[in-house]
Symmetry: C3
Subunit: 274 residues, 3 copies
Amino acid sequence: AAESATSSTSESTGDSKFKMINVTKENKIYKIMLNRPAKKNALNHQMYDEIIQALDEAGKDNSTLAVITGAGDYFCSGNDLENFTSGAGGDIPGMAKAAREILLRFVGAFISFPKPLIGLINGPAVGISVTTLGLYDLVYCTDKATFHTPFSNLGQSPEGCSSYTFPKLMGTAKASELLLFNKKITAKEALERNLVTEVFPDHSFQKETATRVEQYAQLPPQSLQISKRLNRRAEIDLLHRVNADECDVLVERWQSDECMNAIMNFFKRKTSKL
Amino acid sequence: AAESATSSTSESTGDSKFKMINVTKENKIYKIMLNRPAKKNALNHQMYDEIIQALDEAGKDNSTLAVITGAGDYFCSGNDLENFTSGAGGDIPGMAKAAREILLRFVGAFISFPKPLIGLINGPAVGISVTTLGLYDLVYCTDKATFHTPFSNLGQSPEGCSSYTFPKLMGTAKASELLLFNKKITAKEALERNLVTEVFPDHSFQKETATRVEQYAQLPPQSLQISKRLNRRAEIDLLHRVNADECDVLVERWQSDECMNAIMNFFKRKTSKL
Amino acid sequence: AAESATSSTSESTGDSKFKMINVTKENKIYKIMLNRPAKKNALNHQMYDEIIQALDEAGKDNSTLAVITGAGDYFCSGNDLENFTSGAGGDIPGMAKAAREILLRFVGAFISFPKPLIGLINGPAVGISVTTLGLYDLVYCTDKATFHTPFSNLGQSPEGCSSYTFPKLMGTAKASELLLFNKKITAKEALERNLVTEVFPDHSFQKETATRVEQYAQLPPQSLQISKRLNRRAEIDLLHRVNADECDVLVERWQSDECMNAIMNFFKRKTSKL
């Protein structure tokens, strides 16, 4: 996509440390593009790691704000379920523990990110790419975006601090539809439920949001950081506690029969379609 | 109503321990129907007690979730004001203390209920049947439902944790309209204010919600319980404190001139209509 | 305006202690009208002081509730930036410290106000007159009202407890648009974001809101105060902490280059228009 090309005027990192994401730095904007479009930008462990590194770098450099978006048609299809099946050599408890550590650090990087963080949701979002939206400062989406957190279908439970942020954003009665009962919502519904700041027609989404973000990046950076810190101050400790609680619960979930059966069925359905 | 009939395939309790409510258990759904339609399902002390018992039973049995609905045209007309006039033999402080105990236990049973709790609001809801909605996990209502909490009209004050949940759901400026200034709202307004998950046309309400609930009841039960517990974890202690505070305040209110005059006027108006 | 005239049946204070606001007391309503229409009701230090005094008086007298509105076309254009340039004799740290004290007391008076507080937003609202809206119990506005908090444009940061109340009212993604990115919103948007209880057509705003407020003022006053106290109980300590945090941050902001440059530019633009 045109957006992922490193512009000639940018101070692009140009290094090869990132394989799964594409990072550009220009006009005081640190832009992270999830770049695994053939997998609908599903998050494997290396991708989690690279996003954590990029957020760390973005928090310290001279950019005013950071942006996260996706390459291709999807924003992000969530946790790559192959994380559960590959590389662990059958050591389920070890796999669960490792997954816990990376999830804890990943969500923690969002909670602690010191500058404004803007999500440009270019298409469907699933799982942890939805649950972490409550930790962004601004979320713009195309009208083709959808939001889906099918946790109980997979025998799992909420993460990304959504067990705290979603009831706060939309009330328990609407949050449970998403977090317990697997409802997929539209962009308009996500706007009404305060997950999203504004919805744009797909044809003008890239252009309109780029204009906005460029304007915001010219605002006084200290004022923005300090204002963001104030907005988060009353609940930052709670957010870290919620993150730890959610990760602890997931470690148990991943080793439960409910979850293993659900994931096995997922791969069976996938295979049967081949 | 057809919905209250115990189906032949159900594991109905069939016992006679409940007089004011009707309980059915089928398809992993524990369904509580308020069953005092001639009194618009107003809650007298026995009814409070039976609901507490039923919730306790539902939390422990093999059902996946619990449902509360009402028989007849009303969901529930709130606290039966005859609780204030009958049986106390003029011992107002004793009456107030007893009412506090049952209210504390009643709301506490909602706060602590361990499984998904779904409200099917089949008609108008008043008082505590509205204020406790913030403690449900899902609230479906017919478009004929209305929601009314006329506390200050009766010299009373909020309960059901609404002094905490309502400002959280809709902001203080809208919560005060309900909790301080006696505004009755429509189903659509309740949806906009996050009290309600979804509104259904009255003619299809029973059928559509039954279909949904049956689907939800087939989801992995451990995943649902654990997800609900996470959603509530950050505030469960606070909810119990708020409940106790609200009950303490009401004990004073019930013994105040403002309240006694308001209730006396209520019965005068009622009598003058006979 | 007709609304600011002291009616002949009122127990008007009639005293001369207030110069910047107009206070009337009638029908159990304590009404504060910001009365500096030539300056769009911008708040200078004397005006802050008078509002604090008036709220103190309103909290103790026999009125049932208090109302705040503005004279003329504006509700309030926010902090008078001349507070930063006049009277300090170049002693910036001294000016910042004095401004902190008055802001802390001003917002504290809203947090602790014991009776229902109703905002009648008669026109555009800016800065602290917007951020304190989360501390009112009811906010009615005309459809000509707008709401604008241009903090980062001025190198400043949120106050009025908005860093806490705005994310609670509308979610972080929408709160940041206002608190970080200077978005001005309409009355309808303020309603959707729970800042406002109801919007009225401008031509009927004065009449319709007067009728409502008069009805509310006849409700049992103890019940209203006790209900308001309950609504605020769970977060009153937090609100005072947030207020202090916000004021501490602003003291630093006011002495920062970002802020001084922004304010200097503001006055340059203003002068160049003369």
